[in-house]
C-alpha cells in the first residue's frame, strides 16, 4: 500500500510542474498590465516603468518563469502586486473559508446524494426513480448563480429566516482567528451565538454549491447499485432470504459505491473551483472571490498562487480517492504492481 501511495504521489509532481508553467505563461500573455494596475489611477508612464523594473516585469518571459518556479518550489508566492502583502498570507486568510464551504457542500451532497441514488435504484423505473432522475438533470442544468439569487429571494427576503450574505453577523464582532475555520474558531472562543450565526450564514451557500453534487452522486450511486443488483452474489443473498433494507445497505451499497467515491473526489475539486460564482453572490470571502479580484486587478502573482493551490488540492484529493478505492477494493492497489 505504501508503494502504491508513493507511486501516486510521484505521478502528481509532473502534473503540478506543468500547471505552474502553463498558468504562468497564460497569465502573462493575456491582456492587462500588472504594473499599470499597481501604479494606480493617476500614474505616469515613468512611474509604471519604474514599477515594471522593480517587480522584474521587464525581464524576458522565460527568465521570469524560471524565477517564478524557483520561488514556488521554495514556498514563496511573492507579494501581491496589488496589495503589497505576501500572497501566501492572503491565501491563508482566504483558503479556510473556501474549504469550510466546500466541506459543508460535499457533506450535504454525500449525505443526500447516496441515499437518493440508492432509493432510486431500489425502485427502478418507479415514481421515486423518475423523480430522482428529473432532479439530477435539474441539479446539473441550473446555473448556480441563478439558484443562489433565487434562494436569497425566498429564504432571506421573503421568509426572512436566513442571512443573505457574508459569514457572520457584523453586530457580533469576530472571534480570535485561530484556524480561520469560523465554525471551529467560534467554538474555541466559547461563543455559541457566533457559532449559530456562522451555521446560519453557511446554509444558503452550501446548499447552492451542493445541488449539482447531489445530482452527480445520486446518478452514479443509482447506476452503481443497478449494476450491482445484477450480480450473482445479490441473487444468492436474495435467495438466502436477506431483507430488502439489509441487502441494499450492507451488500449492494458497499460494492456499488466504488465509482461514487471517485466521483466524490472529483467533485471536491470541482466544488472548490466552482465556488467562484457562489462566493461572489454570497460575499463569501474565499479563494473564489480572491481569484476574481485578482483577475480584475491583473494581479498575476495572486492568480498563479490560487491556481496552484487549487491544483494541489485536486492532486491531494485524487491521491486520497485512489487510497480510498484501494481500501474498499484491495484488488485496485495490487493491479498496478
Amino acid at each position: 500500500m505504501l508503494r502504491y501511495l508513493l507511486r501516486r504521489l510521484a505521478l502528481s509532481l509532473p502534473a503540478l510542474l506543468g500547471l505552474v508553467l502553463l498558468t504562468f505563461v497564460l497569465s502573462r500573455v493575456v491582456p492587462g498590465d500588472p504594473a499599470a494596475a499597481l501604479a494606480g489611477d493617476a500614474a505616469t508612464p515613468a512611474q509604471i516603468a519604474e514599477i515594471r523594473a522593480q517587480y522584474g516585469l521587464d525581464r524576458p518571459l522565460a527568465e521570469q518563469a524560471l524565477i517564478h518556479l524557483k520561488q514556488v518550489v521554495q514556498g514563496d508566492f511573492g507579494r501581491s502586486i496589488f496589495s503589497g502583502r505576501p500572497v501566501a498570507e492572503e491565501i491563508l486568510q482566504r483558503l479556510p473559508a473556501t474549504l469550510e464551504l466546500t466541506f459543508a457542500a460535499l457533506l450535504l451532497a454525500t449525505l443526500i446524494g447516496i441515499p437518493l441514488g440508492l432509493i432510486a435504484a431500489m425502485n427502478h423505473n418507479g415514481l421515486i426513480d423518475h423523480l430522482v432522475r428529473l432532479m439530477s438533470v435539474g441539479g446539473l442544468a441550473i446555473a448556480s448563480f441563478w439558484l443562489a439569487i433565487m434562494l436569497q429571494l425566498v429564504f432571506s427576503m421573503e421568509l426572512d429566516i436566513l442571512p443573505l450574505r457574508g459569514r457572520l453577523d457584523v453586530a457580533l464582532g469576530s472571534p480570535p482567528r485561530l484556524t480561520g475555520f469560523l465554525m471551529l474558531d467560534t467554538l474555541l472562543a466559547g461563543r455559541l451565538d457566533m457559532f449559530l450565526s456562522a451555521c446560519r450564514h453557511l446554509v444558503l451557500p452550501a446548499v447552492t454549491l451542493a445541488l449539482p453534487g447531489i445530482a452527480t452522486i445520486a446518478r452514479f450511486t443509482r447506476s452503481g447499485v443497478l449494476e450491482t443488483l445484477q450480480k450473482d452474489f445479490v441473487l444468492y443473498a436474495r435467495a438466502a432470504g436477506y431483507g430488502r433494507v439489509r441487502l441494499a445497505a450492507i451488500y449492494v451499497l458497499r460494492n456499488a459505491v466504488t465509482v461514487t467515491v471517485t466521483q466524490i473526489g472529483l467533485l471536491f475539486g470541482a466544488l472548490i473551483s466552482g465556488a467562484v460564482a457562489v462566493e461572489a453572490v454570497f460575499d463569501w470571502p474565499g479563494l473564489g472571490t480572491y481569484a476574481v479580484q485578482a483577475i480584475l486587478a491583473a494581479d498575476y502573482k495572486a492568480l498563479l498562487a490560487v491556481t496552484l493551490v487549487v491544483g494541489v488540492v485536486y492532486a491531494v484529493v485524487n491521491v486520497l480517492v485512489d487510497l480510498a478505492q484501494a481500501l474498499i477494493d484491495p484488488r485496485i492497489a495490487g493491479a498496478g504492481r
Partner: protein, 525 residues
C-alpha cells in the same frame, strides 16, 4: 459522555447571555462600498482608497461639501509666494495621532518624502514640481514646500496626501519599502476612526472604531458612530438586497438606475442623489485611423443617442455634459454647445471622411468594463446606431486593469473605450489638463492621444498661472478648441446614487470621497 456534554454546555453558557446582549447595543454602521487593495494611503489613489484616507487619516487641507470647498484641516493656514514657488503651511495645535503622539511639522515632511520616494499614484500630482529636499520643516509647526516651477493646482492636490505617523511606520520598514507591506494592513493615522488591524482582511472586511481624541472633536454630531464595519458586496443584486434587508447601511455610489425606485419604495431605505464631478465618456484613439480624421470623429460624436441613454436607460438620473470638464466646475466656456444625436449629420461626416480615405469600413473595437453594466449598455446602444451610418462596432469585454494597461502606447490603446473620470482633485487640471495636454500621452487619462499645440500652450499656461481669472479664461479657450476638435465623446456628469438605510443621518456628499466621510454621520435607532 454525559459529563462531557455538561462541560461543553457550561463552557458555552456565557456566550448564550451574549446572544441577548448583542441586540441591546447599537448595531455598527455597515458600509457596503468597495475597499481598496491596500490600506497604505501613499501606495494607491483610486476611488475606494479615499474611504481610508478620509476616515483613518488626515491631510493638511480637505475638500468638504458639494460643490467641494477646500478647507484647512491639519494646517490652520497657508501662504504662497507671489511667484508660486514657495508654499508655507502652519499646523494647528493639539492634533494627535492614534497612538497619542503629537503631529509635528517633521511628521508632515516625512510623510511627503515617503510619498515622493515611493512614487506611486498619489505622487503623480507632485513629482513634476517637487523633490524630497523641497519639503522642509521651518519650525515645529511650519512646513515649507519649494517647487521647481510654478504649479497652480498644487493646493488643490494637497488633500491627496495623508500624514502618517513615522514613529509607527519606521520600525516596520523592510528592504527599503518605506513600511509599505506593514502599512498595507495597519494603521498609522490620526483620522476620526482607528483601524483594527487584527480583523482586517484585504478587500473583504475593515473594522474601525471611533477615535475620541480626533483634533476636530465630536460636538458636531448628536451621537457619533462608535463602530464602522466596511463589508464590500461584490454583486450588485446582493448589494441591493442586503440594503433592503438591513444587512448593510450603505451601498456603493454606483447604484444602478433601475434599482433606484425599488430602494426608494422600501420604508427603511432611501437613495442619496447628488450631482458629482464624474464625467462618463467614450474615448477615441485619435492616432488610429479612422479616428485621425476629424470628420470621422464628428460622425461618431453625432451618432451617440445622448438623450436616449441619459433619459431612458439611465432614467434621467444623470446630467448631459458636453465637454471634458464637469458642468459644475469652473473653467468651462459659457457658450459650450454639446454635440447632439443626429444620424443624418453623422452620415454626412462619415461620407466626407470616407471620401478622404478614412477606413470606416473596418471593424471598430470598443472596449467595455464588463463588471460595470453602464459601459456595456452604452456600447450596445451605440453599436445599433453606428450600424445605421455604416460603421461596424465590435464590443470587446475587458477590465479596468486590462484597458489601462494597454494605454501606454498608441498602437496598443483600443480604438475606443468607455469609462468615467472621477474627482481626484478639484481643478480643471484633473480633467482637461491631464486628458488633452500631449505631455500626458501614455497615461490612461490621455488615452485619446489628442495633440494640438495651441491647446498644449493654453493648458501649460493655465497650469503655471496663479491668477484665477486668467486660468478661467485659458481653460475656457482650451475647452472650446478641444470640443470643436471632438477627440472624445462626453456623455454625462454623474448623479451620485448611493443607497442608504434611513437610520443613517448626516450623510454629506462631496465629489472627493463620494460621501464616505463617516465622522459627519450618526445613526438613529
Amino acid at each position: 459522555m454525559r459529563q462531557l456534554l455538561r462541560s461543553a454546555l457550561l463552557a458555552l453558557a456565557p456566550s448564550l447571555a451574549l446572544v441577548g446582549a448583542a441586540g441591546a447595543q447599537q448595531r455598527p454602521l455597515v458600509w457596503g462600498d468597495t475597499l481598496p487593495a491596500t490600506l497604505d494611503p501613499h501606495a494607491v489613489f483610486d476611488v475606494p482608497s479615499q474611504f481610508v484616507l478620509l476616515n483613518a487619516y488626515d491631510g493638511l487641507y480637505r475638500y468638504q461639501g458639494n460643490p467641494p470647498k477646500l478647507v484647512p484641516w491639519l494646517a490652520e493656514s497657508h501662504t504662497a509666494s507671489p511667484d508660486g514657488l514657495t508654499w508655507e503651511f502652519t499646523l494647528r495645535e493639539g492634533a494627535k495621532f492614534h497612538d497619542g503622539s503629537a503631529i509635528t511639522a517633521e511628521d508632515v515632511v516625512w510623510s511627503f518624502r515617503r510619498l515622493l520616494a515611493m512614487n506611486r499614484a498619489p505622487a503623480a500630482a507632485f513629482t513634476p514640481v517637487l523633490k524630497a529636499e523641497g519639503v522642509t520643516a521651518t519650525g515645529p509647526r511650519t512646513v515649507r514646500f519649494t517647487l521647481s516651477k510654478p504649479y497652480a493646482p498644487f493646493l488643490s492636490a494637497i488633500p491627496l496626501v495623508a500624514v502618517v505617523n513615522p514613529r509607527l511606520v519606521t520600525p516596520n520598514i523592510k528592504e527599503g519599502d518605506w513600511g509599505n507591506a506593514w502599512l498595507a494592513a495597519n494603521d498609522a493615522g490620526s483620522g476620526a476612526y482607528r483601524i483594527d488591524p487584527a480583523t482586517y482582511q484585504a478587500r473583504v472586511s475593515l473594522d474601525m472604531d471611533r477615535f475620541p481624541g480626533h483634533f476636530l472633536g465630536w460636538g458636531h454630531v448628536p451621537k457619533p458612530i462608535e463602530q464602522v464595519r466596511a463589508r464590500p458586496v461584490m454583486e450588485t443584486s446582493t448589494r441591493v438586497l442586503a440594503l433592503l434587508r438591513g444587512e448593510i447601511d450603505a451601498t456603493d455610489s454606483y447604484l444602478p438606475t433601475d434599482q433606484v425606485e425599488r430602494v426608494e419604495k422600501n420604508p427603511k431605505t432611501r437613495v442619496a442623489k447628488d450631482e458629482s464631478m464624474r464625467v462618463f465618456m467614450i474615448r477615441m484613439n485619435n492616432k488610429k485611423p479612422p479616428f485621425d480624421s476629424k470628420d470621422a470623429r464628428l460622425c461618431f460624436a453625432h451618432a451617440f443617442n445622448y438623450q436616449g441613454f441619459n433619459e431612458v436607460i439611465l432614467k434621467g438620473l444623470v446630467v448631459r455634459n458636453g465637454g471634458p470638464n464637469p458642468n459644475n466646475l469652473w473653467g468651462n466656456p459659457t457658450d459650450l454647445k454639446p454635440y447632439a444625436y443626429d444620424l443624418k449629420l453623422a452620415k454626412e461626416h462619415c461620407d466626407k471622411a470616407r471620401a478622404a480615405g478614412a477606413p470606416l469600413g473596418r471593424e471598430v473595437e470598443i472596449h467595455v468594463q464588463t463588471e460595470l453594466d453602464q459601459t456595456v449598455q452604452a456600447a450596445q446602444m451605440y453599436q445599433a446606431d453606428l450600424k445605421k451610418v455604416g460603421v461596424n462596432l465590435k464590443i470587446v469585454p475587458n477590465t479596468w486593469a486590462g484597458i489601462t494597461g494597454a494605454t501606454g502606447q498608441a498602437q496598443t490603446t483600443p480604438d475606443m473605450w468607455v469609462h468615467w473620470v472621477s474627482t481626484y482633485f478639484v481643478d480643471p487640471e484633473n480633467w482637461i489638463g491631464q486628458m488633452y495636454d500631449s505631455q500626458f500621452h501614455g497615461t490612461w487619462k490621455a488615452s485619446a492621444w489628442y495633440g494640438n499645440p495651441r491647446v498644449d500652450d493654453l493648458l501649460r499656461a493655465a497650469r503655471t498661472s496663479l491668477d484665477q481669472a486668467e486660468r478661467q479664461k485659458l481653460y475656457a479657450e482650451a475647452t472650446a478648441i478641444v470640443v470643436a476638435d471632438s477627440p472624445d465623446i462626453w456623455v454625462y456628469n454623474t448623479l451620485n446614487l448611493r443607497g442608504l438605510a434611513r437610520r443613517v443621518q448626516g450623510y454629506q456628499f462631496s465629489p472627493v470621497g463620494s460621501g464616505g466621510e463617516i465622522r459627519l454621520m450618526w445613526l438613529e435607532n
